[in-house]
């Protein structure tokens, strides 16, 4: 399904059928290997565990140009129990990287909200790297009905 959709979209790209979506290049989308490599680089090769991090994203995004997402990591943010960074990836965008949040002892909580671009239906992945090197992951599929619109 992915390949045939990609071919249709590549043909449409020349005709600017989806003109204004900022993430649509008419070439390739994020390869699974890119996502895996970014995850490995971030985690230092550690296999991410489930738990501790919650990614909140809508099931259906009305507008692929601005999709609200939140992350929250269960951590006291005190002493040894600290979150170092949280990385957000999108496995179906032209490039998977979205943002990396850096937290400190002054953060109070390891939680943040932002808005992101999604080129099409895909998974949003959130990885939390703790001060002790352990890595946790959450993932949500977001359906994108209209991949961006307007100017």
């Amino acid at each position: 399904m992915t390949l045939s959709r990609r071919r249709v979209l590549m043909l449409a790209a020349g005709a600017a059928a989806i003109p204004a979506l900022q993430l649509f290049p008419g070439s390739s989308f994020a390869a699974a290997e890119d996502v895996a490599k970014m995850m490995a680089d971030f985690s230092g090769g550690k296999e991410p565990q489930t738990g501790k991090i919650t990614l909140t994203a809508p099931e259906i995004a009305e507008n692929g140009n601005t999709v609200p997402i939140s992350v929250d990591v269960d951590s006291a943010m005190d002493g040894a129990d600290m979150v170092d960074a949280v990385m957000i990836l999108a496995d179906g965008n032209p490039r998977p990287e979205v943002a990396t949040f850096h937290f400190t002892a002054m953060s109070g909580s390891a939680a943040a909200t932002t808005r992101m671009r999604l080129a099409r239906t895909q998974n949003v992945i959130a990885l939390a790297r703790m001060a002790d090197g352990s890595v946790y992951m959450d993932k949500k599929e977001v359906k994108v009905t209209i991949g961006g619109c307007g100017g």
């Binding site: 943040a112 808005r115 992101m116």
Partner: protein, 109 residues
């Protein structure tokens, strides 16, 4: 779109010592991803805010490395522990080297 990026921040005016508050920030910026083409088919070059940071009385609180997949007019909501009265300084850095800043004071009572 042609006007200078304008930051807007929302910070509570007061807090109790040690309280964790929520901060909201916004800056008007197109976040040109580098993926679009103009009407002649030429690629429009990437130009985004690539870094946002929040510092309180000289101590880093929160920062974000942004990639082109962050939406236009980048919005962040995050928290901060407030040990004492002081000033939050917010900084946004553009690909072209421009730096935008805003400040907000808070009083611990």
């Amino acid at each position: 779109m042609a006007s200078a990026p304008k930051p807007r921040v929302k910070v509570p005016k007061t807090a109790s010592a040690g309280e964790v508050i929520v901060i909201k920030t916004l800056i008007s910026h197109e976040m040109e991803s580098g993926q679009r083409k103009d009407k002649d088919g030429n690629p429009i070059p990437r130009k985004i805010i690539n870094k946002f940071s929040c510092v309180f009385n000289g101590q880093p609180v929160f920062s974000c490395d942004l990639d082109p997949a962050v939406s236009a007019n980048p919005y962040f909501e995050f928290s901060a522990r407030v040990p004492e009265s002081g000033t939050f300084t917010f900084t946004w850095v553009d690909d072209d080297g421009s730096v935008y800043t805003d400040e907000q004071s808070i009083k611990v009572e």
